[in-house]
Symmetry: C2
Subunit: 343 residues, 2 copies
């Protein structure tokens, strides 16, 4: 095993002290032009690469960010991670990855794994966080950014401890519903997330109902169904919807996956989309584009959520910024085949 070359070796070859070699490595100004040249030449000659582990031990910083997410398999995360990776790479940080596999109980352990490896910061993406979750993070004293996760934290003091990047869920649902009403739809149903969930479901339901009200349309309880954001749950909720006496003209599913499941239920019954029943989703994942008919939706800026959260986190790590909680990014409406204008 060829022992790798150390700073000591380049110093010797360059005929300087190891401190000087270190200084040129770190671009310190206080090195004479001449010695700098010699060291640089020696480094090249020896193909020197600094040992980041040794550096980390000394500087107490690893240039590494830990990413913890609920389920790497969820298509929602792909683009977010891509955004994270883009910024991290460009700012010379590496990414450590932990998949919770939908089990929040593993959180503590993964945070500790990251802390033991001295990550400079952590990015968390889950469904929601409460006071206790934040306290677990806070006790580790590592800068934290939370992306696309509902923050349900009561203790105001905790809000100084982390960044949070999200869209305005209520406004997104409101805007989407306004858009649908603008298309001419008057009989609107929704398929929400888990019933009573104060984090994800409620704000979107609220936005939906607000838009209805403003347009003088009465919300019909029998058209308010619940799923769990999955394809299957959308399928089932739509089946239930189709059992109702009257059919809505359009169903707003609070995730694209549910919208696709709902679409399948609709088509399996022989109905056409959007002619018989129209469908609208939430998230803007690729899957909806690749469906037939492609699913109109309100898009979360996933890539941008990743970039924004990561650059804020890194600025914090590097002392350029401290957490200004709650960064809200803007959503957008995407028209595709599952809706049409009735006007």
């Amino acid at each position: 095993m060829s022992r790798s070359v150390r700073l000591k070796d380049v110093a010797k070859l360059a005929g300087v002290g190891i401190g000087t070699a270190s200084r040129v490595l770190n671009n310190h100004p206080n090195v004479s032009k001449q010695k700098r040249q010699m060291v640089l030449k020696a480094m090249e000659e020896l193909c020197y690469r600094p040992n980041e582990i040794a550096r980390s031990l000394k500087t107490q910083t690893t240039k590494t960010i830990g990413v913890i997410l609920m389920d790497i398999t969820n298509p929602f995360y792909g683009n977010v991670v891509k955004g994270i990776e883009y910024i991290a790479y460009n700012k010379n940080y590496s990414l450590l990855l932990a998949d919770l596999n939908c089990n929040m109980n593993a959180l503590k352990d993964r945070i500790d794994e990251f802390r033991d490896k001295n990550v400079d910061g952590i990015i968390f993406m889950g469904t929601s966080v409460n006071d206790m979750d934040i306290k677990i993070f806070a006790s580790r004293q590592i800068p934290l950014a939370i992306i696309s996760t509902n923050v349900n934290v009561k203790d105001k003091k905790l809000y100084a401890k982390f960044y949070s990047v999200n869209i305005d869920n209520e406004k997104a649902a409101y805007d989407a519903t306004q858009y649908l009403i603008g298309l001419g739809y008057t009989k609107l149903a929704y398929i929400s997330g888990v019933q009573g969930d104060p984090n994800s479901s409620i704000p979107r339901e609220y936005g939906f109902k607000k838009a209805l009200k403003e347009n003088g349309i009465q919300n019909r309880q029998e058209w308010n169904k619940y799923g769990s954001f999955t394809f299957e749950s959308g399928y089932k909720a739509m089946q239930a919807l189709l059992e109702e006496e009257e059919r809505p003209e359009i169903v707003f599913a609070f995730s694209d996956l549910m919208a696709m499941g709902a679409a399948k239920a609709v088509m399996s019954r022989g109905f056409r989309i959007p002619e018989d029943i129209a469908l609208f989703g939430f998230d803007g994942i690729e899957n909806g584009k690749y469906f037939h008919p492609s699913i109109s939706t309100v898009k979360q800026p996933r890539y941008q959520m990743g970039t924004k959260g990561t650059s804020c986190l890194i600025d914090w790590i590097e002392g350029k910024e401290s957490p200004t909680c709650m960064i809200t990014l803007s959503h957008s409406i995407i028209e595709r085949e599952s809706t049409q204008s009735l006007l």
Copy 2:
């Protein structure tokens, strides 16, 4: 900033030397029961956690594996990464992640990033690797496992340098085609990957044609189309296919994404699936299950590819095993809605 507790602190509290404290930390047998107890107690009292960076510097091992992949956004990878993560976590390794963003030119740089951080091993997932790619890896002297990537390496010597986990693409295409013929289909078309690509496309085309031949069915060149594994390319290839004088009964697309694109083209023309044209995919990603109609396919054991590759790699790292190139995992046929029995 509360300075974290070091081994020195627990040694002092326990009234032992730091070496002894280290020994109980590492479960060395040569420690008296009594001192072991005291150290353990001190550790608990101080909530001691070893600094992995310091350990790494001394032991020259980091208990981390670097994962390099082409595009984290590709739904194919989710389950593979999940498998990797599962094994890594259980064997106490962390995962460093690098997304090439479809650009092999970044490979060198990402390998070096990982090497500088002293990863113990690297897992690579791309489309194909050649001699040069392997040489880049080999020159870094880090154990390497390649998953779901076609190996097109001529220099036999290089084969001792890495693990490779894959399915038998030719056999998978062959088995799938046999299955389709068994269903009663006699007019079969395919949409392959990039034409002439010796890695991905050729073996599947070969398997397809072999099955046809064995059943006395003539392959029709005009029904051999090419895409690039994406949804859009499948859509286009299917459009071309529909321009042909005669329509095939079934189209075997060499990726689920292409099968879905093809399905969209079929349905947009008003044809029914599978009644007018049946469709068969490749990969077994979730998207195909969530399509309407759901796409029959030949499934790659993605999760298992991740677990197998990772456990082999770790065994190699820990000296329990050396690379026996080419591990072949078995595929399976999944019947869904886009095909039917004609018999």
